[in-house]
């Protein structure tokens, strides 16, 4: 829903003649303000919570003295305002505090888990694009045909599916019963720690190390969750592609092109499709941002050690530093991708020319 509205919004704001430097500056300012607001909201959620962060740190058996010591250690004796300023200052230095649950720096944790999410979301988006774009184009060209109807139903089903349930069923069928893919997790248990971490992306690291067997194992692990996520972005991407294409195909220049005797192939791909490329990129950027966020439930089901499951498990163990750190990172990327697609749209909207 957010996706749709953003594009509509972008479309609604009439694009002005691009004045690059000024635009970029104001966009950056917008982004800074938004991120600051994001920090504020997350901070307030974290601090106003009716849960004692100290207890979450020291557990059931601690004495009052240990409690007080930790209370001071966490800086909770300071005023809320100064706590917020300290928090913002630390975040600017890439310091989100220590995780209660893992006992490590939240920034270290995030650096460790983020590549997993990135890899999953990237592959998911890739699958969504590879299948969704052609599907959308074909559906638009053969509007009303069975292909169009199928695409529509496939899309609607995608929008309606509880992802946690689909993931569960996928695991049951493809792993539990058929044994086609590997189970939850990123890698077979005894492959742990064999491949040196270079990029953090398992598929790339295994190839860099020349470990073809481990690559296949990693691929076998990622393909099911990535396909599921891919399906969700496919639903969105194909729908938007179709609607962009319809707009183009109804345009006058297409009629002109047809009259000139160009083949249908050329009309569709050389003219119409070329004109929607920029719009498509903005849509894909939004789809990507949504997968980064939307992978939360998928990661839980597939025991995928990414940022989504990190945030959720932290939340369930009241580890607020980790939750806030993770939220800020995802939020910032989300904001950046949104603004990026917004900018792109404003500068390159064919209607602006």
């Amino acid at each position: 829903m957010t996706q749709r509205s953003s594009v509509l919004q972008a479309a609604r704001r009439a694009p002005l003649a691009p004045r690059w430097p000024k635009k970029v500056a104001s966009t950056l300012l917008t982004m800074a303000v938004t991120v600051l607001g994001l920090l504020f909201v997350t901070f307030m959620i974290g601090r106003v919570m009716p849960i004692d962060p100290v207890l979450a740190v020291i557990g059931e058996r601690a004495t009052q003295a240990q409690y007080d010591a930790t209370f001071r250690e966490l800086g909770l004796d300071k005023s809320l305002v100064s706590q917020f300023f300290i928090y913002v200052r630390d975040v600017l230095h890439w310091d989100f505090g220590t995780s209660i649950r893992t006992g490590q720096q939240v920034s270290t944790d995030i650096a460790r888990v983020f590549p997993a999410t990135l890899e999953l979301a990237t592959l998911g988006t890739l699958i969504g694009v590879i299948i969704g774009v052609p599907l959308g184009v074909v559906a638009a060209v053969y509007r009303g045909s069975w292909i169009d109807q199928t695409a529509r139903v496939v899309g609607l089903v995608g929008y309606s599916m509880p992802i946690f349930w689909l993931g569960l069923m996928g695991l049951l069928i493809f792993y539990g019963i058929l044994g086609w893919v590997a189970g939850p997790g990123r890698l077979g248990v005894f492959y742990q720690g064999v491949v040196p971490t270079v990029t953090g992306l398992m598929l790339i690291d295994t190839l860099l190390a020349g470990e073809w067997t481990i690559f296949k194992d990693a691929f076998s692990h990622i393909i099911l969750p990535a396909s599921l996520l891919g399906y969700f972005s496919l639903a969105y991407i194909s729908r938007m592609t179709r609607s962009f294409m319809l707009e183009q195909l109804n345009a006058e220049y297409i009629t002109t092109a047809r009259v000139k005797g160009l083949s249908e192939w050329e009309v569709v791909w050389k003219h119409a499709f070329r004109n929607i490329r920029i719009q498509l990129i903005t849509v894909i950027a939004l789809a990507y941002a949504n997968l980064l966020e939307g992978s939360v439930l998928t990661e839980i089901i597939f025991a995928w050690p990414g940022l989504g499951s990190y945030i959720t498990t932290s939340l369930l163990s009241n580890d607020m530093n980790s939750v806030l750190g993770g939220t800020v990172v995802i939020g910032t990327i989300f904001v950046a991708l949104n603004i990026f697609s917004d900018l792109l749209y404003r500068f390159f909207d064919p209607r602006a020319k």
Partner: protein
Amino acid sequence: MKMTDPSTLRAWLLAEAPTSRRQARASAWYVGWLNLRSNTLAMAGLIFLALLLLAAVFAPFLASHDPFAQDLGARLLAPGTDGHLFGTDSLGRDIYSRVLYGARISIYIVLLVALVAPLLGLIIGTVAGYAGGWLDVVLMRVTDIFLAFPRLILALAFVAALGAGIENAVLAISLTAWPPYARIARAETLTIRNSDFIHAIRLQGAGPVRIVMRHIWPLCISSLVIRVTLDMAGIILTAAGLGFLGLGAQPPSPEWGAMVSEGRKFILDHWWVATVPGLAIFSISLAFNLLGDGLRDVLDPKEGGA
């Protein structure tokens, strides 16, 4: 000019030249309804939702068992055994009856969110749009911030802060769902604000509060209603997701997401425990999507299908 025959409603509704504003509006709705009715999928969705509503209302009569009655001796029975249509769960409760009662919870959540979120958006959007100036800037900036948030994660954080529970889940979803409504309401307000009839009302001495509440709100409602219908499926899925994570309705209440989560443990040998409530979530959100899709066709033929 054709004569309209007031005795047949249909003719009145389809009149080419409506004689009153009321008739014009009713006519527009009716034509829309006719369009919608010709859309098989949308009608299927609508009928399904109607049936679901009836099922929820008459759950006590339709249920075969008490949805809360435990029987530890008859747990994890397969569908069809001993009069349990969809089998039993890990505490021996009848899944069919639980799913039926679960529909009440889903409808309850959807209705509450559909009330709270648009209302919040309406207030913020109209105030921003009508007041303009710095208030507009501030409110819209806040809206942007919330719009930029990853929604599920924000909802998660809110529920964690407020405590798990169905009302808090509703509140959390509403808190993350209002920004698009605020934008729509603001856009509507901006177009209405400078219209002649508002000027006229203002000249009659009406204050801003009265103008916003009495004259601007009613005009924003219809676009909000449409948007809400389109968002219903998303609301249901978010609520189920929260339930799945244990942050929604609390046990023993038969919330579908929580039921899937419970059934997860038994997925290998007792697949039905997680499958049935999952299918229920899927069906209701598919029904809303079909209906919403049909509505979109009616309202915006460009984006639509055949």
